[in-house]
Amino acid sequence: MVEIYLENITHIYEGRTLALNNISLRIPNGSFTALLGPSGCGKTTTLRIIAGLIRPTKGKVYFDGDDVTYLTPQERNVAMVFQFIVVYDMSVYKNIAFPLKVRGLPQKEIDLRVKRIAEKLGLTQYLDLPAHKLDAGTRQKVALARALVREPNVFLLDEPLTNVDPKSRLEIRAILKEIQRDLKQTMIYVTHDQAEALTLAEKIAVMNKGRILQYDTPQRLYEYPANTFVAWFIGNPGMNLINAVLVEKNDRIWLDFKLFKIDISEYRDIIKGKGEKFIVGIRPEYIRVLKTPQDNYIKGRCYLVERLSGKMRLLHVEIGEIDLKIKTPLNVKEGEYVWLNLPKEKIRIFDEKGDLLI
């Protein structure tokens, strides 16, 4: 397990497509990191650069302070599991033993390690069977075993559960968490599925268009997104984002939403000099909603109701031109009026460019 440091990595494919735009990332030793983002954001490219399958156009890769940018994957001692399930045309035993055999380890040691890892992954009964005849979930487990048996410095996974049946998916997720805990293995997991990332990872790097937007724990990503993209991307649905204009009156400052205002005088020092237009965000589950008028509550009309799992509903509410989504168990019908309150401690304010201020 090593700490991985990416320093100013820029990567351009075929001299034309900019895949990574000057990213830097420090992944702590023994942590489980997810690289999360929409397709094309550069997460797979990042993973491959860490693996050593690609040499970055610019920038360096460090393992525990050593520059490994020019080393092969073998020399970096990385292990990788792909979205496309890779098993070799041989028995499960031989598959798992393969990297060790290539390394020239003594047969006894190989046997020991293979059996141990097979046990851990529940593959013992399959050891003598030809690997390519097994079902997807088991095959991916074989691929996992083959990667883990080497006791690699870092374990890289590129959307490994996409082609696996749901039941095996749960199994493998549990195995991954267990492994990371027991072996203190540095793991990097690429996915576009945030539910997966949020459950598995200790820290998530949210990426978009070749940049790392925020690298943080799931909680902090959720509560304190560094910019509007992260705010919108994380969560299902993401944070509500509305435009507001700063207004100063009577020595107090307000955010003006045309149909209502929010007093933010206590943030005067932070807000000052940051321009006049802002984006304000609040998560659907934090908006308080009532069916009857109340002080400090804003009136809106619910035009669409989506039923979610359990008793939860997703309300689409319009306040003039502003559109808000609210998650609540309250039984509201389409066309009804509701009264909303935005608790100040849950409001996040972003500047025009989208970066978090408060």
Partner: protein, 291 residues
């Protein structure tokens, strides 16, 4: 356990040494490929160069590469040895036999692809077996028959047997192409009211047009280059190019310039065809088994 692995990654090969090793390997690969290409290309290169040289230049060693090219050899071959007549023979016989094979083979291929008839596999494999018949063994009794019924040294005689030679390719390759047309497409059209035949001609056939051209060109290549059957079954009238080329060796023996000119005239159209259908060559050569 982990410590030793860490040392592995710490044992850094110097970056320069590493890049050098990689470059060396890539250089080696390209060098090997260059040598291989030279081997495959040289005979053709030799034929082209020699055909453009005059007699004195041809027999000088080391081979002369700088010279003024002249097409006297080509003119000689075409005019003095009636090459155009043989060229026409090859064209007529090849084209006709390919068309014949397409007419017979495409409907069969379609049925093999879409329908379930008794002994379907037998049909396919009997047709396949034609691919493996030794031409010379067949040619001999065929020669006897043809001389009796007057088909010896006729275009038709060769065409009839060449069709059989082309059928395995047409049927197997086209079946492969038909298999790739989703049956849902035809079913949808049928539900819309079109008859089976109409569907075939208006919907399916255009989709495999590319495949038909490729197959046709491939069979053309085969029949054009065929030698054994043509040798036995033709005399002067229907003689095809490859057979005439052998005649040249007998009569022109030492005139390498004319010989190679003849060789290039025969080979050039097929080289062009081969390059055109290069993406389908593997499919053709393996009768549609490998795509």
């Amino acid at each position: 356990m982990y410590g030793s692995n860490k040392k592995d990654s710490k044992a850094l090969v110097s970056q320069r040494g590493h890049a050098f090793k990689r470059a060396l390997i890539i250089f080696g690969i390209y060098l090997a490929l260059l040598i291989v290409s030279a081997f495959f290309f040289y005979p053709i290169f030799f034929a082209i160069v020699t055909s453009l040289q005059k007699r004195a230049e041809i027999f000088t060693l080391p081979p002369k590469l700088i010279f003024t090219p002249s097409i006297t050899n080509y003119i000689k071959v075409v005019t003095m040895w009636k090459f155009d007549a043989y060229f026409m023979n090859s064209v007529i016989i090849s084209t006709a036999s390919v068309i014949g094979a397409l007419l017979l083979g495409i409907p069969c291929a379609y049925i093999l692809s879409r329908y379930d008839i008794p002994r379907k596999m037998d049909i396919a494999f009997i047709i396949l077996s034609f691919r493996f018949l030794p031409p010379v063994a067949i040619a001999i009794p065929l020669y006897i028959l043809y001389t009796k019924i007057g088909l010896f040294d006729t275009h038709l005689g060769l065409i009839l047997i060449y069709i059989i030679m082309n059928l395995p390719f047409v049927v197997w390759i086209m079946k492969g192409f038909f298999d790739e047309v989703p049956i849902e497409l035809e079913e949808a059209a049928q539900i819309d009211g079109y008859s089976r035949l109409h569907v075939f001609f208006r919907f399916t056939l255009p989709l495999v047009a590319r495949g038909i051209s490729a197959t046709a060109l491939f069979c053309l290549l085969l029949t054009w280059n065929e030698f054994g059957l043509a040798l036995v079954l033709t005399g002067i009238n229907a003689r095809t190019l490859p057979v005439q080329a052998l005649q040249f060796v007998a009569s022109l023996g030492l005139d390498w310039g004319a010989l190679t000119a003849a060789a290039i005239i025969i080979a050039l159209p097929m080289i062009i065809f081969g390059i055109i259908i290069r993406n389908y060559l593997v499919r053709g050569l393996t009768l549609g088994v490998v795509k």
